[in-house]
Protein backbone atom coordinates (compact mmCIF):
# COMPACT_ATOMS: atom_id res chain seq x y z
CA UNK A 1 0.00 0.00 0.00
CA UNK A 2 1.22 3.46 -0.87
CA UNK A 3 0.24 6.65 0.88
CA UNK A 4 0.23 9.93 -0.94
CA UNK A 5 0.02 13.10 1.07
CA UNK A 6 -1.19 16.04 -0.99
CA UNK A 7 -0.25 19.26 0.74
CA UNK A 8 -0.64 22.89 -0.18
CA UNK A 9 -2.14 26.11 1.12
CA UNK A 10 -5.90 26.68 1.25
CA UNK A 11 -7.36 27.02 -2.23
CA UNK A 12 -4.21 25.96 -4.06
CA UNK A 13 -5.98 23.14 -5.92
CA UNK A 14 -5.44 20.04 -3.76
CA UNK A 15 -8.93 18.67 -4.33
CA UNK A 16 -8.76 19.11 -8.11
CA UNK A 17 -5.40 17.37 -8.19
CA UNK A 18 -6.62 14.50 -6.01
CA UNK A 19 -9.68 13.97 -8.20
CA UNK A 20 -7.41 13.57 -11.25
CA UNK A 21 -4.93 11.38 -9.39
CA UNK A 22 -7.63 9.08 -8.01
CA UNK A 23 -9.17 8.85 -11.45
CA UNK A 24 -5.79 7.85 -12.90
CA UNK A 25 -5.18 5.21 -10.21
CA UNK A 26 -8.67 3.78 -10.64
CA UNK A 27 -8.15 3.52 -14.40
CA UNK A 28 -5.06 1.45 -13.62
CA UNK A 29 -7.24 -0.81 -11.46
CA UNK A 30 -5.60 0.36 -8.27
CA UNK A 31 -7.98 0.43 -5.34
CA UNK A 32 -7.87 3.98 -4.07
CA UNK A 33 -9.26 5.58 -0.94
CA UNK A 34 -9.17 9.31 -0.26
CA UNK A 35 -8.97 10.68 3.25
CA UNK A 36 -9.95 14.33 3.47
CA UNK A 37 -9.38 16.65 6.39
CA UNK A 38 -11.26 19.91 6.32
CA UNK A 39 -11.39 22.69 8.81
CA UNK A 40 -15.01 23.34 9.56
CA UNK A 41 -18.16 21.52 10.53
CA UNK A 42 -19.12 20.74 6.98
CA UNK A 43 -16.81 19.22 4.43
CA UNK A 44 -17.26 20.54 0.92
CA UNK A 45 -14.36 18.74 -0.76
CA UNK A 46 -15.55 15.31 0.36
CA UNK A 47 -19.07 16.03 -0.92
CA UNK A 48 -17.63 16.89 -4.32
CA UNK A 49 -15.43 13.78 -4.38
CA UNK A 50 -18.34 11.56 -3.39
CA UNK A 51 -20.47 13.05 -6.15
CA UNK A 52 -17.67 11.98 -8.51
CA UNK A 53 -17.81 8.44 -7.18
CA UNK A 54 -14.64 8.34 -5.08
CA UNK A 55 -14.31 6.35 -1.88
CA UNK A 56 -13.88 9.20 0.60
CA UNK A 57 -13.33 9.21 4.32
CA UNK A 58 -13.50 12.50 6.14
CA UNK A 59 -11.98 14.10 9.20
CA UNK A 60 -13.82 17.29 10.02
CA UNK A 61 -13.73 20.03 12.57
CA UNK A 62 -10.03 20.28 13.22
CA UNK A 63 -6.62 19.86 11.72
CA UNK A 64 -4.78 16.54 11.27
CA UNK A 65 -1.48 18.16 12.09
CA UNK A 66 -2.61 18.95 15.63
CA UNK A 67 -6.06 18.33 17.15
CA UNK A 68 -6.97 15.39 14.88
CA UNK A 69 -3.56 13.71 14.61
CA UNK A 70 -4.75 10.69 16.65
CA UNK A 71 -7.96 10.45 14.62
CA UNK A 72 -5.95 10.38 11.40
CA UNK A 73 -4.03 7.31 12.53
CA UNK A 74 -7.17 5.57 13.85
CA UNK A 75 -9.00 6.23 10.61
CA UNK A 76 -6.06 4.99 8.58
CA UNK A 77 -6.02 1.71 10.54
CA UNK A 78 -9.74 1.29 9.97
CA UNK A 79 -9.83 2.06 6.28
CA UNK A 80 -6.84 -0.18 5.62
CA UNK A 81 -8.53 -3.05 7.42
CA UNK A 82 -11.91 -2.43 5.73
CA UNK A 83 -10.74 -1.79 2.17
CA UNK A 84 -7.12 -3.00 1.78
CA UNK A 85 -6.46 -0.22 -0.75
CA UNK A 86 -3.47 0.02 -3.07
CA UNK A 87 -3.40 3.78 -2.59
CA UNK A 88 -4.47 6.02 0.23
CA UNK A 89 -4.49 9.64 -0.79
CA UNK A 90 -4.55 12.00 2.20
CA UNK A 91 -5.61 15.60 1.84
CA UNK A 92 -4.72 17.50 5.00
CA UNK A 93 -6.33 20.90 5.49
CA UNK A 94 -4.52 23.77 3.81
CA UNK A 95 -3.49 25.06 7.22
CA UNK A 96 -1.69 21.84 8.17
CA UNK A 97 2.06 21.63 8.52
CA UNK A 98 3.18 18.48 6.65
CA UNK A 99 5.98 17.74 9.11
CA UNK A 100 3.41 17.40 11.90
CA UNK A 101 1.28 15.13 9.73
CA UNK A 102 4.32 12.92 9.10
CA UNK A 103 4.98 12.84 12.83
CA UNK A 104 1.41 11.64 13.37
CA UNK A 105 1.82 8.98 10.67
CA UNK A 106 4.80 7.54 12.56
CA UNK A 107 2.22 6.14 15.00
CA UNK A 108 0.55 4.14 12.24
CA UNK A 109 1.02 0.42 13.02
CA UNK A 110 -0.95 -1.23 10.22
CA UNK A 111 0.35 -3.10 7.15
CA UNK A 112 3.69 -1.76 5.99
CA UNK A 113 3.52 1.26 3.72
CA UNK A 114 5.56 0.72 0.56
CA UNK A 115 5.88 4.41 0.13
CA UNK A 116 4.84 7.71 1.58
CA UNK A 117 5.01 10.31 -1.17
CA UNK A 118 4.41 13.97 -0.49
CA UNK A 119 3.00 15.97 -3.32
CA UNK A 120 2.90 19.70 -2.68
CA UNK A 121 0.83 21.95 -4.84
CA UNK A 122 1.69 25.64 -5.18
CA UNK A 123 -0.70 28.33 -6.33
CA UNK A 124 1.36 30.45 -8.73
CA UNK A 125 -1.33 33.16 -8.80
CA UNK A 126 -0.89 33.90 -5.09
CA UNK A 127 2.61 32.68 -4.35
CA UNK A 128 4.14 36.17 -4.12
CA UNK A 129 1.63 37.18 -1.46
CA UNK A 130 1.76 33.88 0.40
CA UNK A 131 5.55 33.95 0.51
CA UNK A 132 5.29 37.32 2.28
CA UNK A 133 2.52 36.51 4.71
CA UNK A 134 2.68 32.74 5.26
CA UNK A 135 6.37 32.15 4.70
CA UNK A 136 7.06 29.37 7.24
CA UNK A 137 4.04 27.29 6.23
CA UNK A 138 4.63 27.58 2.48
CA UNK A 139 8.36 26.89 2.85
CA UNK A 140 7.56 23.85 4.99
CA UNK A 141 5.20 22.57 2.28
CA UNK A 142 7.95 22.90 -0.33
CA UNK A 143 10.77 21.48 1.79
CA UNK A 144 8.86 18.32 2.66
CA UNK A 145 7.79 17.56 -0.89
CA UNK A 146 8.89 14.59 -2.99
CA UNK A 147 7.38 16.38 -5.94
CA UNK A 148 6.29 20.01 -6.24
CA UNK A 149 3.30 20.64 -8.47
CA UNK A 150 2.64 24.10 -9.82
CA UNK A 151 -1.12 24.22 -10.19
CA UNK A 152 -3.37 26.48 -12.25
CA UNK A 153 -0.77 26.46 -15.01
CA UNK A 154 -3.45 27.37 -17.56
CA UNK A 155 -4.27 30.58 -15.66
CA UNK A 156 -0.81 31.72 -14.55
CA UNK A 157 1.44 34.05 -16.53
CA UNK A 158 4.88 32.83 -17.54
CA UNK A 159 6.39 35.16 -14.91
CA UNK A 160 4.21 33.59 -12.22
CA UNK A 161 5.17 30.08 -13.37
CA UNK A 162 8.85 31.00 -13.39
CA UNK A 163 8.64 32.53 -9.91
CA UNK A 164 6.89 29.41 -8.58
CA UNK A 165 9.46 27.10 -10.16
CA UNK A 166 12.42 29.17 -8.95
CA UNK A 167 11.00 29.34 -5.43
CA UNK A 168 10.33 25.60 -5.33
CA UNK A 169 13.84 24.79 -6.55
CA UNK A 170 15.36 27.21 -4.04
CA UNK A 171 13.79 25.44 -1.07
CA UNK A 172 13.84 21.91 -2.45
CA UNK A 173 16.47 21.47 -5.16
CA UNK A 174 16.09 17.70 -5.37
CA UNK A 175 12.32 17.48 -5.94
CA UNK A 176 10.93 17.41 -9.46
CA UNK A 177 8.82 20.47 -10.25
CA UNK A 178 5.91 19.84 -12.59
CA UNK A 179 3.05 21.97 -13.91
CA UNK A 180 -0.58 20.92 -13.57
CA UNK A 181 -3.96 22.27 -14.58
CA UNK A 182 -7.42 20.81 -14.60
CA UNK A 183 -7.55 21.63 -18.30
CA UNK A 184 -4.29 20.01 -19.37
CA UNK A 185 -4.21 17.29 -16.69
CA UNK A 186 -0.80 15.66 -16.30
CA UNK A 187 2.04 16.58 -18.61
CA UNK A 188 4.74 14.03 -19.50
CA UNK A 189 7.06 14.95 -16.61
CA UNK A 190 4.27 14.65 -14.06
CA UNK A 191 2.98 11.41 -15.55
CA UNK A 192 6.49 9.96 -15.44
CA UNK A 193 6.74 10.88 -11.77
CA UNK A 194 3.39 9.31 -10.95
CA UNK A 195 4.30 6.18 -12.90
CA UNK A 196 7.19 5.53 -10.52
CA UNK A 197 4.63 5.29 -7.71
CA UNK A 198 2.23 3.02 -9.54
CA UNK A 199 4.81 0.35 -10.33
Amino acid sequence: MKLILVTGFLGSGKTSLIIRLADLFCKKDRKTVVLVNEIGDIGIDNMVMRKLGLNVWELLNGCVCCSLAGDLVDMLHQLVSDHAPDFVVVEPSGAADPSSVLKALSFYKGPVLDKIAILTILDPLRLHVLMEVMTPLIVSHMKQADCVVIGKSDMATSDEMTFAETTARKYNPSAPVVPFSTVQYFNDAFYKEIKTWTK
Binding site: G11, G40, M47, V48, A95, D123, V133, P136, L137
Partner: protein, 152 residues
Protein backbone atom coordinates in the same frame (compact mmCIF):
# COMPACT_ATOMS: atom_id res chain seq x y z
CA UNK B 1 4.83 40.89 13.71
CA UNK B 2 1.38 39.93 14.82
CA UNK B 3 -0.30 36.56 14.83
CA UNK B 4 -3.27 36.35 12.53
CA UNK B 5 -6.43 34.96 13.96
CA UNK B 6 -8.10 32.17 12.08
CA UNK B 7 -11.74 31.48 12.90
CA UNK B 8 -13.44 29.50 10.11
CA UNK B 9 -17.12 30.13 9.51
CA UNK B 10 -19.43 27.46 8.07
CA UNK B 11 -22.88 28.36 6.80
CA UNK B 12 -25.88 26.73 5.20
CA UNK B 13 -28.30 28.85 3.22
CA UNK B 14 -31.50 28.08 1.36
CA UNK B 15 -31.60 30.08 -1.86
CA UNK B 16 -34.87 30.46 -3.77
CA UNK B 17 -35.44 31.73 -7.25
CA UNK B 18 -38.77 33.48 -7.67
CA UNK B 19 -38.53 33.99 -11.41
CA UNK B 20 -36.98 31.92 -14.16
CA UNK B 21 -35.74 35.05 -15.96
CA UNK B 22 -32.40 34.89 -14.20
CA UNK B 23 -29.69 32.23 -14.12
CA UNK B 24 -28.38 30.91 -10.84
CA UNK B 25 -24.68 31.11 -11.48
CA UNK B 26 -24.30 34.91 -11.88
CA UNK B 27 -26.08 35.65 -8.61
CA UNK B 28 -24.03 33.10 -6.67
CA UNK B 29 -20.83 34.40 -8.25
CA UNK B 30 -21.90 37.89 -7.28
CA UNK B 31 -22.49 36.83 -3.67
CA UNK B 32 -19.18 35.01 -3.24
CA UNK B 33 -17.05 37.62 -4.97
CA UNK B 34 -18.79 40.33 -2.91
CA UNK B 35 -17.95 38.46 0.27
CA UNK B 36 -14.30 38.12 -0.76
CA UNK B 37 -14.09 41.78 -1.72
CA UNK B 38 -15.71 42.95 1.52
CA UNK B 39 -13.13 40.98 3.52
CA UNK B 40 -10.37 42.81 1.71
CA UNK B 41 -12.02 46.25 1.84
CA UNK B 42 -12.99 46.22 5.50
CA UNK B 43 -9.91 44.38 6.75
CA UNK B 44 -7.12 45.26 4.33
CA UNK B 45 -4.58 43.25 6.28
CA UNK B 46 -6.65 40.07 6.17
CA UNK B 47 -5.86 37.18 3.85
CA UNK B 48 -8.54 35.19 2.09
CA UNK B 49 -7.42 31.57 2.42
CA UNK B 50 -10.38 29.97 0.70
CA UNK B 51 -14.07 30.77 0.49
CA UNK B 52 -15.75 27.71 -0.95
CA UNK B 53 -19.37 26.88 -1.56
CA UNK B 54 -21.22 23.89 -2.88
CA UNK B 55 -24.74 22.82 -3.71
CA UNK B 56 -25.68 19.25 -4.55
CA UNK B 57 -28.83 18.07 -6.33
CA UNK B 58 -30.88 14.90 -6.24
CA UNK B 59 -30.02 14.30 -9.91
CA UNK B 60 -26.43 13.69 -8.81
CA UNK B 61 -25.25 17.01 -10.22
CA UNK B 62 -23.48 19.59 -8.14
CA UNK B 63 -21.93 23.01 -8.39
CA UNK B 64 -18.84 24.19 -6.55
CA UNK B 65 -17.50 27.72 -6.21
CA UNK B 66 -14.06 28.76 -5.04
CA UNK B 67 -12.74 32.19 -4.07
CA UNK B 68 -9.03 32.41 -3.25
CA UNK B 69 -8.43 36.10 -3.70
CA UNK B 70 -10.71 39.10 -4.28
CA UNK B 71 -8.56 40.01 -7.27
CA UNK B 72 -9.03 36.68 -9.03
CA UNK B 73 -12.09 35.28 -10.76
CA UNK B 74 -14.31 32.94 -8.77
CA UNK B 75 -13.72 29.32 -9.79
CA UNK B 76 -16.78 27.31 -10.80
CA UNK B 77 -17.11 23.54 -11.31
CA UNK B 78 -20.24 21.65 -12.24
CA UNK B 79 -23.64 23.10 -12.98
CA UNK B 80 -27.14 23.69 -11.67
CA UNK B 81 -30.11 21.82 -13.16
CA UNK B 82 -32.10 24.11 -15.47
CA UNK B 83 -35.43 23.84 -13.67
CA UNK B 84 -33.98 24.35 -10.20
CA UNK B 85 -36.06 26.75 -8.12
CA UNK B 86 -34.30 26.36 -4.78
CA UNK B 87 -30.99 25.05 -3.53
CA UNK B 88 -29.10 24.60 -0.29
CA UNK B 89 -25.73 26.28 -0.44
CA UNK B 90 -23.02 25.19 1.98
CA UNK B 91 -20.34 27.81 2.48
CA UNK B 92 -16.98 27.52 4.24
CA UNK B 93 -15.31 30.86 4.87
CA UNK B 94 -11.62 30.41 5.67
CA UNK B 95 -10.08 33.85 6.09
CA UNK B 96 -7.07 34.82 8.18
CA UNK B 97 -7.19 38.04 10.20
CA UNK B 98 -10.97 38.43 10.64
CA UNK B 99 -12.90 37.13 13.63
CA UNK B 100 -15.88 34.84 13.10
CA UNK B 101 -18.14 37.57 14.46
CA UNK B 102 -16.90 40.02 11.83
CA UNK B 103 -17.06 37.37 9.11
CA UNK B 104 -20.72 36.85 9.93
CA UNK B 105 -21.35 40.59 9.63
CA UNK B 106 -19.53 40.72 6.30
CA UNK B 107 -21.51 37.74 5.07
CA UNK B 108 -24.79 39.42 6.02
CA UNK B 109 -23.68 42.57 4.25
CA UNK B 110 -22.69 40.66 1.11
CA UNK B 111 -26.06 38.91 1.06
CA UNK B 112 -27.93 42.18 1.49
CA UNK B 113 -25.99 43.84 -1.33
CA UNK B 114 -26.56 40.94 -3.69
CA UNK B 115 -30.24 40.50 -2.89
CA UNK B 116 -30.74 44.23 -3.40
CA UNK B 117 -29.02 44.06 -6.78
CA UNK B 118 -31.03 41.03 -7.88
CA UNK B 119 -34.32 42.00 -6.23
CA UNK B 120 -36.88 40.43 -6.56
CA UNK B 121 -35.49 37.42 -8.39
CA UNK B 122 -33.84 35.64 -5.44
CA UNK B 123 -34.32 35.22 -1.72
CA UNK B 124 -32.13 33.61 0.93
CA UNK B 125 -32.86 32.00 4.27
CA UNK B 126 -30.03 31.22 6.67
CA UNK B 127 -30.49 27.58 7.64
CA UNK B 128 -27.75 27.39 10.20
CA UNK B 129 -24.50 28.83 11.26
CA UNK B 130 -22.16 26.10 12.28
CA UNK B 131 -19.76 26.70 15.06
CA UNK B 132 -16.26 25.52 14.55
CA UNK B 133 -14.31 24.38 17.58
CA UNK B 134 -12.47 26.76 19.82
CA UNK B 135 -9.96 28.86 18.02
CA UNK B 136 -6.90 27.63 19.88
CA UNK B 137 -6.86 24.61 17.64
CA UNK B 138 -6.10 26.87 14.74
CA UNK B 139 -3.53 28.96 16.51
CA UNK B 140 -0.56 27.96 14.39
CA UNK B 141 1.47 30.59 16.15
CA UNK B 142 4.76 29.34 14.80
CA UNK B 143 3.73 29.43 11.22
CA UNK B 144 1.30 32.27 10.81
CA UNK B 145 2.77 35.70 10.98
CA UNK B 146 1.68 39.01 9.76
CA UNK B 147 3.47 42.09 8.59
CA UNK B 148 1.13 44.73 9.91
CA UNK B 149 -1.18 44.94 12.82
CA UNK B 150 -4.54 43.66 11.69
CA UNK B 151 -7.58 45.85 11.94
CA UNK B 152 -9.26 44.34 14.93
Amino acid sequence: MDKMIFEPLALEQMWRRTTKDHDWVPVLLDYLSSLGSLCNERFPSSLVGHIKAMAGFSSGEFIRFSVVSPGLPVGVDGHIPKDCTSLTLTVNVLVYGISRFNLESLNAEALLQVLYRWDPAFSVTALKRLNVLNKNIYDHSNTIMFKEKHNE
